[in-house]
């Protein structure tokens, strides 16, 4: 059981990790690194959820954390599948190069 006094620090850590992940998504161009950054953001959210769960003595936050883990796993499967396809057709793995959404 964490002490109540640690709760703000947990939230701050989560916010720090989330911002770090968001920054990574925004400035890195390698899709693999972008993915890792997204994972970082998701885990930051998980940390916040678990922290709240502890602070409020409620299990719901932890259940949500599991949900997030499951969704993250599914998203990685899809995302990595896309990346291998992109790589296999001989494209460079650079998110700035993949701008077909505009067309």
């Amino acid at each position: 059981m964490l002490s109540q006094a640690m709760f703000p620090w947990i939230l701050l850590t989560a916010a720090y990790l989330f911002s770090l992940g968001a920054l990574g998504v925004l400035i890195r161009r390698n899709p693999l690194v972008v993915f890792m950054s997204i994972e970082l953001m998701l885990n930051a959210v998980n940390l916040a959820l678990v922290g709240y769960s502890s602070f409020l003595s409620s299990e719901e936050g932890q259940v949500f954390a599991f949900m997030v883990i499951v969704v993250a796993a599914a998203e990685v499967v899809v995302g990595l599948g896309l990346l291998t396809r992109v790589f296999s057709i001989g494209r460079e793995l650079d998110v700035d190069d993949l701008d077909e959404l505009k067309r």
Binding site: A22, V25, L26, I27, R29, V34, V95, D96, L98, D99, E100, L101, K102, R103
Partner: protein, 673 residues
């Protein structure tokens, strides 16, 4: 006749042609010509057999029980007060069965004829499908016991007429003629629909206890149908419109406009001659025997309204007689064999319209019946001629066909005599309605004299047509090598010639120059509403004299026709070359310039208006539309740059707005000062 029997019979006579139409249209192209010929004619034969049963049932029914209204199902019922209640219902009575006999009987003969006429046409399945559909719509129209059903039938016959006039759609003239017919018919349709609205709004079926616009007029207060669309009810309660009131005059004029458009009466007559672009059996069935007489039927059906609207009825009589003489005049100089017959149809229908206008409903229907025989005969015989001279319709290219096509020529002669009103069919019906006009109509002596002139004209143009087509020397190579038509095309013609020859005598049989059988048969329909029986007035002597005068005038016309164009003993050309008189044949040849007048007063102004509006309106509309689209485009130009296609850009927007939203929420919650 019990209601269930009536329902069965009416259902059969409606569904058989519809089934035939579906079979020919859907399976015909697959199963081939033989199947189409069989299905197309057998369905009509079946309908004719059922009609004969209905006719026998009505003849056998006790007096007062001859009219049966059957409701198949309730189609539409709005509200418990049943203010708007549309039943799919039909009426079997003497009037509708007389129409049915002609529609299915003459229709059957024409279908048989079509088997021969369309033998070399690729679109035979389409043709029989349309023809069967026409019979279905026409049956629906004459059986309808409800204004909505009547309007559906009314529009459906216009549709089938449109489809059949434009049957040879690769010919521009056919398509244009079909469109002209459709547009003219629509004018009548609109008038009929407005009349139906007015009838629905104004006929009160429970008048004594409930004056209009009072509380009991609210839905649900009275369980009875306060408003009604049912035709028998409207006829029974016609007096609630007020005899001679402006309202009923307006309603009757609107009904009459509908009838004029359908029956090619002045001023909506110009479509009928052009409708001859269709195949000849179509002209015989639709544009001579049945559809164009629907206007006569409409007025006869709503006789209870016209009985109490003398102004409208008088207008109808004048328009009818005016059209009769106008069309007879034009028919004198036309050179297209089918157009001459078309103008004579217009003229004869004018006489029918005149008859129903003066209240001689039975005389009008008598003329309708006999006219269906001899006019279908003339058209079918003309079809044989056209076939024999290789699709030539100009009578200047014919001549001398008498010896080459003996049966057709004799039939055509019988038809011409019947048309002109001597010896055969037309003699009885025309003298009947003219005599009635002289005796009973208000202010009709003038109209009677016009009618006598029409008789002369009819004899003239009928024998001009016969003389130019069948007598003298052949004037073209095709006419020299003409052959008689195959027997499948001869038998219907011969049967119709027989009918034209004897029908008048038989129907007149029991009392010479007395009330004819059609009059006796139909009088319950026209007396049930309170209007007087349509019998000849007791002044039999005047009847005989009138008869004599009428036939005499017909003979004058026939005699001149024979002398000028058959024996060629008279040549009218020098007379018409005189100055002043020269104008007359010119007027006739140009159909009194009606097409030109409509072109200058309606078509060209409309076109000019459309062009002007386009000239003025296009820039205005363009500037509006371009303005609107310009604003949208300028506005979106700002945001368009945001869509770079780069994932990192989108992610940064998300982050930016997520942060902005969070900050906004915090400010709103007072967490940040």
């Amino acid at each position: 006749m019990s209601t269930s029997t009536a329902a069965l019979l009416a259902g059969l006579v409606l569904l058989l042609p519809l089934l035939g139409s579906a079979l020919c249209g859907l399976l015909g192209p697959v199963l081939g010509r033989r199947f189409v010929n069989l299905a197309g004619t057998l369905s009509i034969a079946g309908a004719f057999a059922v009609t004969l049963v209905i006719f026998a049932e009505i003849l056998g029914a006790a007096s007062g029980h001859q009219s049966v209204t059957v409701t198949f199902w309730n189609w539409l019922n709005l509200g418990s007060g049943s203010n708007l209640n549309v039943d799919v219902s039909v009426t079997l009575d003497q009037l509708s069965v007389l129409m049915l006999l002609v529609i299915t009987g003459v229709g059957l003969l024409i279908h048989v004829y079509s088997v021969g006429y369309m033998e070399h046409d690729e679109g035979v399945a389409r043709f029989f499908s349309y023809m069967n559909f026409f019979i279905f719509s026409m049956v629906l129209l004459v059986l309808a016991a409800n204004l909505i059903i009547l309007i559906i039938g009314w529009a459906a016959v216009a549709l089938s007429s449109y489809l059949l006039i434009g049957f040879w759609y690769e010919r521009t003239s056919a398509v244009v003629a079909a469109r002209k017919a459709m547009i003219t018919q629509i004018i009548g349709d609109v008038a009929l629909v407005i009349a139906a609205f007015l009838l629905f709004l104004n006929v009160r079926t429970v008048p004594p206890t409930c004056p209009p616009n009072l509380v009991c007029a609210l839905p649900g207060v009275f369980p009875q149908h306060l408003y009604t669309l049912s035709i028998p009810q409207i006829l029974t309660h016609a007096s609630s419109l007020g005899a001679g009131s402006p309202l009923i005059t307006l309603i009757c004029i609107l009904l009459a406009v509908g009838a004029f458009a359908k029956s090619a009466q002045f001023p909506l007559h110009t479509w009928l001659p052009d409708a001859m672009e269709g195949p000849t059996p179509v002209s015989a069935l639709i544009h001579a025997a049945t559809m164009v007489t629907a206007g006569v039927y409409l007025i006869a059906r709503f006789h209870a309204l016209f009985d109490i609207a003398p102004i409208a009825a008088g207008m109808v009589a004048c328009v009818g007689m005016g059209t009769a003489i106008m069309a007879g005049f034009i028919a004198l100089t036309q050179q297209d064999i089918k157009r001459v017959i078309a103008y004579s149809t217009m003229s004869q229908i004018g006489l029918m319209i005149f008859a129903v206008g003066i209240g001689a409903y039975a005389a009008g229907m008598y003329q309708f019946l006999l006219h269906a025989f001899f006019k279908a005969l003339l058209f079918l015989a003309a079809g044989n001629v056209i076939h024999a001279v290789h699709d030539e319709q100009d009578i200047r290219e014919m001549g001398g066909l008498q010896s080459r096509m003996r049966v057709t020529a004799i039939s055509f002669l019988v038809g011409s005599l019947a048309l002109a009103g001597f010896l055969f069919a037309g003699m009885f019906s025309k003298e009947d309605l003219l005599g009635f006009g002289l005796l009973n109509g208000p202010g009709t002596p003038a109209l009677y004299i016009v009618g006598i002139v029409v008789n002369v004209l009819t004899g003239l143009y009928a024998f001009r047509l016969y003389g130019k087509t069948f007598t003298g020397e052949p004037r073209s190579e095709a006419a020299r090598h003409a052959h008689e038509a195959p027997s499948v095309m001869l038998w219907p013609v011969v049967i119709l010639a027989g009918l034209s020859a004897v029908a008048g005598w038989i129907l007149q049989w029991p009392v010479a120059f007395g009330p004819h059988l059609i009059n006796t048969f139909l009088s319950p329909v026209f007396t049930s509403s309170g209007s007087g029986p349509i019998a000849k007035a007791p002044g039999l002597d005047l009847g005989l004299v009138g008869f004599g005068i009428g036939v005499g005038c017909s003979l004058v016309g026939i005699g001149f026709g024979v002398f000028i164009w058959w024996r060629r003993a008279l040549n009218p050309a020098p007379f018409f070359a005189l100055p002043g008189v020269r104008l007359i044949p010119q007027l006739s040849r140009h159909k009194l310039y009606f097409d030109e007048i409509y072109d200058w007063t309606l078509v060209r102004p409309t076109r000019a208006l459309a062009k002007g509006v386009r000239k003025v309106g296009d820039p205005v509309m363009d500037s509006w539309i371009k303005g609107v689209s310009g604003v949208a485009s300028d506005f979106s130009a700002v945001f368009r740059t945001l869509q770079s296609g780069l994932i990192r850009d989108y992610a940064s927007y998300m982050v930016f707005f997520a942060v902005a939203f969070t900050v906004a929420v915090m400010i709103a919650a007072g967490l940040v000062k």
